[in-house]
């Protein structure tokens, strides 16, 4: 349904995304995961024909984003990073306007309006001015706009940002319910969100795709350890065994003569224990450094705990 092939976007000197390629099949929900500034929004803007790519091709529903933008736009519902709301209109006026803008007939519009108002539970605020709505309602009105004409493809840029935990759960359930009938790409910088909602995850960092897989397999690839490289001058035969005996060490691998790769438990810094042992034994410490792996580095930044959300999930589980 969505095909991106070697797409590059440069803003002057700055390369925002660099030869990005991926595919999304019909009915699939794909998460676009990456830290802020990774190129998520840029990719989405190219897919929605907001801006052209510098190189490469993007196709949505079989239509090229550059050659047939009108066909693409008709089939895509898009929620930008900042919900595009007109403060001076009421919710109904706004949704009516966006529906007409998308070329909906009066009958489709009436049905669509009732459907999204119910689905996003914004019935209470239908006749209120958008300017007076809370952040959560504004986000939902923006989402209603994207869903209104029931497009086969949905592109949602950080759809749960600024919502409270209860609303986040509602929106995630809504997106999950779209799977199968709709093709969805959503961007997020929170790993648990991607694993909760999506069948497949593309991880983007620094404008490049660094990994692409199902959430389960990605988690398996994420080693729950920290790596330290140690080089000594005079290694002894029992050195590996002595290092392994330190508390917190999970694995010891000899890489070279005198160079060892140590794995320790995640979130535990035992570099000073290692240094003390090496110096005490007189092995002659030459080098001691932690190793940052690109993919894992990205993961570490993404694996934020959603404390408020976990609490809300727990209380919801308790009440039902």
């Amino acid at each position: 349904m969505i095909e991106v092939l070697n797409v590059t976007k440069r803003y002057g000197e700055l390369t925002a995304i660099d030869r990005v390629s991926f595919r999304v099949e019909k009915g699939e929900v794909l998460a676009f995961l990456g830290p802020n500034g990774a190129g998520k929004t840029t990719t989405m803007r190219i897919l929605t024909c907001f801006m052209p790519a510098t190189e490469g091709t993007a196709r949505v529903a079989g239509f090229d984003c550059f050659d047939q933008p009108q066909e693409v736009k008709r089939r895509v519902g898009y929620l930008p990073e900042t919900p595009p709301l007109y403060q001076e209109l009421t919710v109904t006026e706004y949704l009516t306007f966006t529906g007409r803008l998308k070329g909906m007939s009066a009958k489709d519009l009436r049905n669509g309006l009732d459907r999204v108002v119910e689905r996003l539970s914004i019935g209470d605020v239908r006749h209120r001015l958008i300017a007076n709505l809370s952040r959560g309602y504004k986000q939902r009105v923006g989402l209603a706009q994207a869903l209104l004409h029931d497009p086969p493809v949905l592109i949602l840029d950080e759809p749960t940002v600024g919502l409270d935990p209860k609303q986040i759960i509602e929106i995630r359930d809504l997106i999950k319910s779209l799977a199968g009938s709709h093709t969805v790409i959503l961007s997020t910088h929170i790993l648990p969100e991607a694993t909760a909602v999506c069948q497949r995850v593309v991880i983007i960092s620094g404008g490049r795709i660094v990994a692409e897989d199902t959430p389960d397999r990605l988690s398996a690839r994420l080693r729950r350890s920290e790596k330290i490289s140690v080089t000594v001058k005079h290694p002894t035969a029992d050195m590996a065994a002595q290092l392994r005996a330190l508390t917190g060490i999970v694995g010891v691998f000899e890489q070279d003569h005198g160079t060892f790769l140590l794995e320790s438990e995640l979130g535990r810094d035992i570099r000073d224990d290692i240094a003390r042992l090496i110096v005490g034994q007189g092995w002659g410490l030459l080098e001691l450094r932690t190793i940052a792996m690109t993919l894992e580095d990205v993961f570490l930044r993404l694996t934020q705990h959603e404390e408020g959300l976990e609490a809300a999930l727990a209380s919801e589980g308790a009440t039902t």
Binding site: Y11, P52, P84, E88, R100, K102
Partner: protein
């Protein structure tokens, strides 16, 4: 309802829920009223003088004494007021990121530009229609040539359209509404002054070109009651050029 209709309707609604149209409209109507009132008072004074000199009631020409001076003065007023109506059209959408919605909807860029122009033009024509009260009231007390009043209104409608198209161009160049308003002031005054330069240089190719580019000469002839194809062409091509440039400006920004 097509997307263009929908956008025009939305723009009109946005205009009338904000105070801008009411304030700008009130000032515009007040100035038109005061200018025409002063012209009528002046015409009355002249009538009294003529009567004392000739001893008989002279037939005064209201077209010359009231409408023409008012329309001339209104050209400057319109130049000062219309940029305040156009400044928000594209700049505000950019600033509030709602432009992303328009640009990702199945409406073409030229349709967006035309809808924006049409909506503000309808507002302006509405204001212009309200000033029609002045000739209507005067027609109760006096008689004058309606034809040249109509060409005066045609002149104002065309001049306004050109100014508004220039305003759309200025608004598409920036995110800042104040900058947009000043850009259109600057552009319009520059074009106006070209006419003055043309007058100084005189009847040379350069002088004639300057005079032609400026709107004074074309406005003049229409206000005097002369409807010529070349003047209509001037306005039509000016409006199309400004809107085309606005289209190019927005399009080029997509590529940056």
């Amino acid at each position: 309802m097509t997307p263009v209709h929908a956008l025009v309707a939305k723009e009109l609604r946005s205009y009338f829920v904000s105070p801008v149209v009411y304030v700008v409209g009130a000032v515009f109507l007040m100035i038109f009223g005061v200018l025409s009132y002063l012209a009528v008072v002046n015409a009355g004074a002249q009538a009294i003088r003529l009567m004392q000199m000739q001893g008989a009631a002279a037939q005064l020409n209201l077209n010359d004494l009231v409408f023409r001076p008012t329309f001339y003065s209104m050209a400057l007023i319109v130049l000062l007021i219309l940029p305040l109506l156009t400044m928000r059209l594209v700049a505000e959408e950019r600033k509030l990121r709602t432009f992303e919605l328009l640009m990702t909807s199945p409406i073409k860029l030229h349709e967006i530009i035309i809808a924006k122009f049409l909506s503000v033009y309808l507002v302006y024509l509405g204001l212009l229609a309200l000033t029609g009260l002045v000739p209507l009231i005067l027609s109760i007390f006096s008689s004058f040539d309606w034809n040249s009043v109509f060409t005066g209104y045609l002149a104002m409608a065309l001049l306004g359209a050109l100014f508004l198209a220039t305003g759309v161009l200025a608004s598409s160049m920036t995110e800042n509404q104040i900058v947009a308003a000043f850009l259109s002031f600057g552009l319009l005054i520059l074009v106006w002054l070209l006419g003055a330069f043309g007058g100084i240089i005189g009847d040379t190719p350069l002088g004639n070109t300057f005079s032609y580019v400026s709107f004074i000469e074309h406005y003049d002839r229409l206000v005097r009651g002369l409807v010529e194809a070349k003047d209509l062409m001037y306005y039509a091509s000016g409006i199309v050029l400004m809107l085309f440039l606005a289209h190019r400006v927005v399009e080029s920004q997509r590529w940056k």
